[in-house]
Amino acid sequence: MLNKTGVPTLEDIQTVSPSEERLKKGPVAIIECFQEIPCNPCTEACKQGAIRPMEDINNLPKLDLDKCNGCGVCLSRCPGLAIFIVDASYSDTEAIVRIPYEYYPVPQVGEKVVGLNRAGDELGTFEVSKVQSGGQKNKTYTIWLIVPQSLAMEVRGLRLRSTEIQPKETIVCRCEDITLGEIQALIKEGYSTIDEIKRAARAGMGPCQGRTCRMLIAQELAKFYSIPVGEVLMPTFRPTVKPVKLGTYAGGE
């Protein structure tokens, strides 16, 4: 019961679900608005004439599935965040679900986030393919999620993976205070071996000579290039194994 749980029922959803055929055709709005309240911004937002003007402002919105091109303007205007865009034509196996988002931080393109259903249950981890800003005034972001076809009519929310490592506070090279974030940024920039990263950032050039950070950097490179750690080129190892005073060398034996 929607009014008891806040979660629309299967029957509710069926009233607004387009046919398989329509879904396959391309992006389309899914207006999950099931209660008659005085509200009509969606009708004003639709430039395609797909959401028909209401006779009574309390009417539920009516969508002309043939006219709707899934532009998404209504999504960002709906005060109830009740409109989603589903594009089942994305690929044979995957669909795009566009979801309104008003939390902070905003997910980044390429980030993996946890997809949630209408009840907030987790459905898996999905990649963000696009993030649209709602602009200065509107502020509602639209997050594009790549989900399996079978979940196109299920995924309706998302949560950031709070368990993701925060590269900023994570120290890779203790001697020079170099963080995981800096190492990742350098790798992204194109520095492709440990030696190159050493020279760009001094990681591994401190008094410990890379003993703590060398393999951490190797792991990051391996991850980025999708190669086994063993294939990451090791840096040149040079004497000496530990720091020794100039005075000691000067003294001879």
């Binding site: 993976r161 994570t170 000496t240 034996e253």
Partner: protein, 364 residues
């Protein structure tokens, strides 16, 4: 310039065994030990060792260490330089070291590198906070100096080191909040694990640390569960109130000297990292340079001792010592190694060594 027949770098179980074995055949040996006392990691081990009688099974690690030191010290052919760290192996065959504020130069005929391993590090937020230690550091503090690192510990890693150090911490009166392990199974010997479980300490497999927190030192840690793809499971986070986080996430062979000496190296995950390619006599691709113990692939102290003995015998034999008995001793040592590695626990090492011998063309 100190001239010597065999130089052993590292006075741990492998190095001491190598020195004694080589000296017993008649070679003169010098052992370089960076610490004030030889024995390596054995001096920190308070538990009884596994293995067979030949590897002193049933004795505690530090007792075995003392035995090995005694054997070395009573052998007139062995000289041990403590507080002396090897610095480099140069192309002219000279090995340099620092000891007592002096630059020492040694010209050996053969070198046995037995430098052991160093602890691995993992990346997580605030991994540099005071109160986060390598497991070896905790052992040193506790078992060498008799000082505990804190009140309540999160142990990361359920391999043998993680399990043993947790047990040692409990023996020193420190509470263990839990042992977490990213893999789905416990890596160490299960008798160690059971010993800890029945003391009431949870071992959480498929768990990882999300972050450490605290102002100036550790005040707590957030951990979470991992799914089958090693991805964090949202909602599984737990907050642990601890003042110590101990990292026992594995060891890497300490191979800097081998790299420097231009030994051909290979990355073998089963041996825990980059190791020098070597033949059955433990000689690397740099002629006259042998390896033994963790530096040639991380294993247990028992096999390190046998490898040390084997390297010592082979190095001495190559100098013309023990023409009669060396081949037999060599065979015995090899048989002991096979025996130690024959069980399921040794399969990883066997696989690793096969990978290592496979490519690289080192002659056996």
């Amino acid at each position: 310039m100190k001239e010597i027949e065999i130089l052993v770098i590292g006075g741990g179980p492998a190095g001491l065994s190598a020195a004694t074995a080589a000296a017993n055949l008649g070679a003169s040996v010098l052992v370089l030990e960076r610490d004030g006392k030889p024995g390596g990691q054995l001096v920190k081990q308070t538990h009884k060792f596994f293995g067979s009688k030949k590897q002193y099974a049933g004795d505690r690690g530090y007792q075995i260490g003392n035995l090995l030191i005694d054997e070395c010290e009573k052998n007139p052919k062995v000289e041990v330089w403590t507080d002396s760290t090897a610095l480099g192996i140069y192309e002219d065959g000279v090995v340099t070291a620092e000891g007592q504020g002096k630059h020492l130069k040694i010209k050996p005929k053969k070198i046995i590198v037995a430098t052991g391993a160093s602890e691995k590090m993992i990346a997580f937020p605030n991994n540099d906070l005071p109160g986060i230690y390598g497991a070896g550091a905790v052992q040193t503090l506790m078992n060498v100096y008799g000082i505990v690192p804190g009140k309540r510990v999160l142990m990361i890693g359920a391999g043998n080191i993680g399990l043993i150090v947790s047990y040692q911490l409990m023996q020193a009166g420190v509470e263990i909040a839990g042992i977490i392990e990213a893999s789905p199974t416990i890596g160490g010997y299960l008798v160690h694990a059971s010993k800890i479980r029945r003391a009431g300490v949870p071992i959480l497999t498929s768990h990882t640390i999300i972050e450490a927190y605290g102002q100036e030192s550790v005040e707590g840690a957030k951990i979470c569960q991992l799914d089958a793809q090693w991805q964090p499971i949202p909602g599984s986070e737990q907050d642990l109130n601890v003042d110590v986080i101990c990292l026992a996430v594995g060891l890497s062979p300490l191979t800097e000297l081998c790299f420097q000496a231009d030994c051909q190296m290979k990355y073998v995950p089963e041996l825990s990292g980059h190791v020098p390619i070597r033949n059955e006599s433990l000689e690397t691709t740099r002629p006259g340079l042998y390896v033994a113990g963790d530096v040639s692939g991380v294993e247990e102290a028992s096999s390190a001792m046998v490898e040390g003995r084997l390297a010592g015998i082979c190095a001495a034999y190559s100098l013309g010592y023990g023409t009669d008995e060396a081949p037999k001793l060599q065979r015995e040592a090899l048989a002991e190694l096979s025996e130690l590695r024959a069980g399921p626990a040794g399969q990883k090492t066997v696989k690793g060594i096969m990978k290592l011998m496979d490519k690289g063309g080192a002659a056996c």
